[in-house]
Assembly symmetry: D2
Homo-oligomer: 308 residues x 4
C-alpha cells in the first residue's frame, strides 16, 4: 500500500467565546455545512468536499484556542500500532471511547512535546460530499461564503519544536518538507511537515506559549477563490490579518484572518506536491520574512504575537 | 512512514518518428528542459518543477507509442520487495542495470496484463528544480512554451483491464479512484488508480490493441495555464484533439493534443485529492461521455480509436 | 463629451417556443434576474450588474430568433438626430411609443440592410445593480447560474453585410474593429464593430438568411467564470455548441450554447480595448477558422449553418 | 462617432533619480519595451499591447515625480477645439512643437488647477503591438517581467480637486465615475473620472502638495497576472506598498509599488465598465478606507503621505 499510516488532518476542536456567534460565522462566512450538535452542546461542521462526518468541532469556552487536533489513520491496526509507537516514544496515551465525538470511532490521544493534544482515529462515518459517488456532477453551483474544499493543516506553536518534529517524523511517519532556522543557523524555528503528497499537513513553530494555535487552515481550489474569500470576509467585516498574499514556504497563496473569538484561520491555495524522496527546503533567519509572506518580505507584528 | 511503496510516475520512454522534430517540439512547444542524450541517441527531458534528472525519454523508431512506463519507489528495499511481489503475482521480471537510462539506478521491468512494459526503480539523480532548496523564490519568470509542472500520469489501453487493475492494486499498492463500467454494468471499461493523494497516477482503459498508449499527461498549475497551453499549441499549430475542457472523471481540466509523431499527450490541471479511505466513484456506460468530457457529454471519435 | 451617440447594446427581444421553459432557463441556468411581465405576456430580465430595468425580453412565438435589437443612445437629442440621419441614409424609421416596452422610453426603429430590426432609445428606468451607489460592496456572494455581468453584443447574419456595416459606421458612429474577408480577398464576409472601447458591440456576418440571429452574447468577468458557465450548462444539460475556447477575433474567450428554443447565446470574456485611432485587424479567408475558433482552427459545421 | 474628444491617457513623463537604474527597472521588472532615446537623453517605453510609439518617458532629474500627463485626442480638429475650450475655461495654453517628444505630433499643454501639467495631442506614430493586424495570434508567449497591457490611468494629488474635476468634466469631456467625500459630507476628497468605458482614466485626490503624483497605473489582464506581478516584484526586491488587494472604488484588483526613484506605480486589473448614463458612486469619509483598500478596510499611512 503506497499511502498508509496517518492519512490526514481529520478534525479539530476549537474553543469559541460565543457559540451562537461562532456557528453563524462558520456557517455563513466560512460556508461550512453544519452537521449538528452533540449532547454536550458542541457544534459540528464539515467542508462541502469532505466525505467524513465532520472536520470542525466548536466548543463554548472562556478562552479561545484549540482543544485537540485529530489525525485520521488508515485502519484500526494502524491505530493500535501507532499507539504503541507513541508510548515507546515516551508519551502517555489515552483512549477516548467511540462516540465521544459524533460519528467517530475510538481515539488515541497524547500530548505532543509542544503541549498540544493530538489524537489518532481510524473511523468516522462517511456522509459523502454533495456530489455523490455515481455519475457525479463536477461542481456544486451557487455555494455561498468562503466554502473551502477541506480542512488542510494546522500551525501549532510551542517551545519544544524539535520534540514535536521528532514525534511526527520518527513515530507518525511525517516528513519535513520545509524548515526555518533560528538565528543560530542550526536549530529549527519552525518545521512544516507532510504525511502525504501535500506541501504540509502540520507545522510547528517556536513560541514560548506551549499548546497554542497559530491557525487552522482550509483549502481553496484557486487564487480567484482566494480573492473571493477576501471579498466575503469584507462583506461580513471579518478581521483579516494579512492577504491575499503568497507564502514563500510551500509557495501557497493565502489569507490569514480571525474568527469572532480571535482564532486565526487560513484560506489556503496551492503548494507544490511533496514526495518522501525530496530534501527539505531550508530558510535562513534573514529570509524568514520572505519565507512566510513572500510579497511583503517581512513578518507583520501579529504573526509572532497573536496566537490562541 | 505514511507515503511508501510506489511514489509516482517517474519516467516514460516514447517512440517518435523523427527525433529532431520531437526534440524541437518537447523543448519549444511543451517547454521541457532538455537533459542531454545517451550513447544510444535517446533524448532526455524534465519538467521544470521536477527534481529528478529526467521524466521523458524519446527514442527514434518506425512506430510511435510508449516503450515503457517507470514508477519511482521509495528505496532499494522496496524495489526488491515489489520485485518479489510481482513475481508472486505470476509475472516474470527483468532487471535493467543501473545506468542503462542516464542517471537512473537499477530498474525492475515486467509486462502488465494489458501488454505494457512497466518498470520500477528506486534511484535517479537529483538535479533540482530551477528554484533551489535554500531560501528559494516562488516562481521562475518568463517560462516559454507550455511548461508543465511535472509528468502526471498515463492512460494505457489494452484488453485485460482487470488484470492490470489487480496488479496495480494488489501488488503495487494503488487504489481505484474511479471506475467506468461496461454496458454490462459490472465489468470495468476503465479504471483510474492512484498510489498517492493524486486523483490518478495511472489509468487503464479497455481496447483491443494491447500495449497501446492513449496519452501521457503533464500537470499544469491553473486553468489559466490550460488556456495558455492551448494558445501555445495554436501558435505552433500543434494538433489539438479536444479542450480546453473538464473531465467528469477526477474533475480535472484538460487539453488532449498530439506530438508530431502522433503520440497523444494531455495538459492537465486539478483533480480532487484522493485518500485510501475513499470509495471509488462509478460511472455507468450511459454517462461515460460526460465522465470523460464533462462539457460535450460525449466521446469524440478519436477518444476510442486513436492510440499509439 | 468623450463617449456620446450610441452608448451600447441595451436590450433585445428573443422569440422562444415555450415561454415557461425559457423563463426557467434564463432565470436558473443563465442566472438573470426576472423583472416581470408586460400585459402582452412578454418576460423581462436583467443581468445582475446592469443598472437599467431590463436587457432581455422574451416573447412566445412559433419560431425562435430575434425580434429586434435595441441600442441605448445618450439622450433624446441624440435619438432625434440619429433618427434623421438614418432617414437620410435612406431607411424608413418608425417611432414606438414610450411604455411599449416596460420602463422604456420612445424607440426609433428601422430595418438594417441585413434584414434586422434595430431600434434606438434614450431612456430606460434605472433600477440599479445589487450593490448600490453609496459605499457599495465589491461583489454579490452566492450567485447561482451563469450570472453574466451584462448583455454584451450580438452577431447578426444576412446578405448585405456591407450595407449594415455602412449604416453602423457612417450613421450610428460605430467603427470596424476586425474584418473577415471573403475568398475574393476584398469584400467583407463579416465585420465586428464597436461604438465604445469594447472589442465589439455588434457583428454582421454574411448569410443567405436575412434577419437571422447567430448569437446574443453575455459578458463574464474571468476565464474561471467561463469554466463555471460550462459546468453550469452541463449540470442543466444545456446544449453546448463549442467551448470553452478562445476566439482569434477579439482574442476573447467563449462558449457558444443554445437556449431551449435553439437560440444560440454566448458567454464571453475578455477582448482587447478598442479606440477609434486603431486600424482594423483583417482575417483572410484561409485563416478564418482560427479567427473564429482559435484553438480548433476550423469552423464547426454549426457555425455557418445554425441560426435562428 | 460614438467615442470622440479625448481618447485615453497616452503618455506621461516621469522624473527618475538614476536613468540607467530606471531603464533597467522598466525594461526587466515592469517588462516594457524600450523604444529608444531622444537627443536630450530621455528614455522611451511602450507596453507590449499598445500600438502607439511610446507611453512612458523617463527623464533624469534631482527629484522624482511626473513632468506631464498626455491625453491622446481624436484628431487635429479636436486638438484645436479643446485648446480653445481650455483657454475659455481660463487656463493659458502652450503649444509644444511636433517632434519634441519622439514620434509625437504637436501638443497643447496647460496646468490643471491641482498644479499638474496636462497635455493633449492628436498624433503619435503607430508602431503596432507584437501581434500585428493580419491574421494575428492571440498571445505573445514567454513574456518576462510584469508586462502590462497598457498605461491605464494616473492618480494626481493637489489642493484644488474641484477645479481639476471641472476642467476635466466640463471642458475635456470626462465624467465622474466615483467620488469620495470629505468629512463635511459634501465636498470632494477625491474624484475618479473616465473619458471612455473604463472605470477611470484619471483621478484627483486632495493633498496640500500641488502637482504631485500618487501613482501611474498599468493594466494587467487577470488576477492571476496580478499575483505574477507581485512575484516578479519580490524576485527583483521591488518595494511593494500594498497588495495584491482589491479596491472598493472601481472594484479593480491592484498592487501599489515603487520604482527605484520612489515613484509609486500600480499594476491594476478589472474595474467595471462605465457609461455616461451611470450615476457616480459615492463614498463617505467613514468608508473611504474600504473604498481604497477593500480588504484591509483602512488606508495605510503611506497612501496619504507618500507622493512624488
Amino acid at each position: 500500500m503506497a499511502l498508509t499510516g496517518v492519512l490526514r488532518p481529520g478534525h479539530c476542536q476549537l474553543r469559541v467565546l460565543d457559540l451562537k456567534e461562532a456557528e453563524h460565522f462558520y456557517t455563513h462566512v466560512m460556508g461550512l455545512k453544519p452537521m449538528g450538535h452533540d449532547p454536550s452542546g458542541r457544534a459540528y461542521f464539515k467542508c462541502l468536499d469532505e466525505r467524513d462526518h465532520a472536520s470542525l468541532v466548536l466548543r463554548q469556552a472562556d478562552r479561545a484556542g484549540v482543544d485537540f487536533c485529530g489525525l485520521k489513520v488508515l485502519d484500526t491496526a494502524t491505530l493500535h500500532r501507532l499507539e504503541s509507537d507513541v508510548r515507546a516514544f515516551g508519551l502517555p496515551t489515552e483512549r477516548i471511547p467511540a462516540g465521544e465525538l459524533l460519528e467517530t470511532g475510538e481515539r488515541v490521544r497524547f500530548e505532543a512535546p509542544t503541549g498540544h493534544l493530538i489524537e489518532l482515529y481510524a473511523h468516522k462515518t462517511t456522509v459523502g460530499d454533495e456530489l455523490g459517488l455515481r455519475n457525479p456532477e463536477a461542481i456544486v453551483d451557487g455555494r455561498k461564503g468562503i466554502s473551502p474544499v477541506r480542512l488542510d493543516h494546522w500551525q501549532l506553536h510551542g517551545r519544544n519544536v524539535e520534540g514535536s518534529r521528532d514525534l511526527f517524523c520518527n513515530v507518525l511517519g511525517f516528513r519535513v518538507v520545509e524548515r526555518a532556522l533560528k538565528e543560530d543557523g542550526v536549530s529549527d524555528m519552525g518545521v512544516w511537515m507532510s504525511c502525504s503528497n501535500k506541501a504540509h499537513d502540520i507545522a510547528f513553530v517556536h513560541d514560548e506559549r506551549d499548546g497554542s494555535l497559530h491557525h487552522a487552515s482550509f483549502l481553496l481550489p484557486t487564487w480567484e477563490q482566494v480573492l473571493h474569500a477576501a471579498d466575503v470576509m469584507t462583506i461580513h467585516r471579518t478581521a483579516i490579518d494579512i492577504g491575499p498574499i503568497r507564502h514563500g514556504i510551500t509557495r501557497g497563496t493565502t489569507i490569514y484572518a480571525f474568527d469572532p473569538s480571535g482564532n486565526r484561520f487560513e484560506t489556503f491555495c496551492g503548494g507544490y506536491d511533496h514526495y518522501p524522496d525530496m530534501e527539505p527546503i531550508v530558510w535562513d533567519w534573514e529570509d524568514l520574512g520572505r519565507g512566510i509572506f513572500y510579497h511583503t518580505r517581512q513578518l507583520n507584528e501579529r504573526f509572532l504575537t497573536v496566537v490562541t
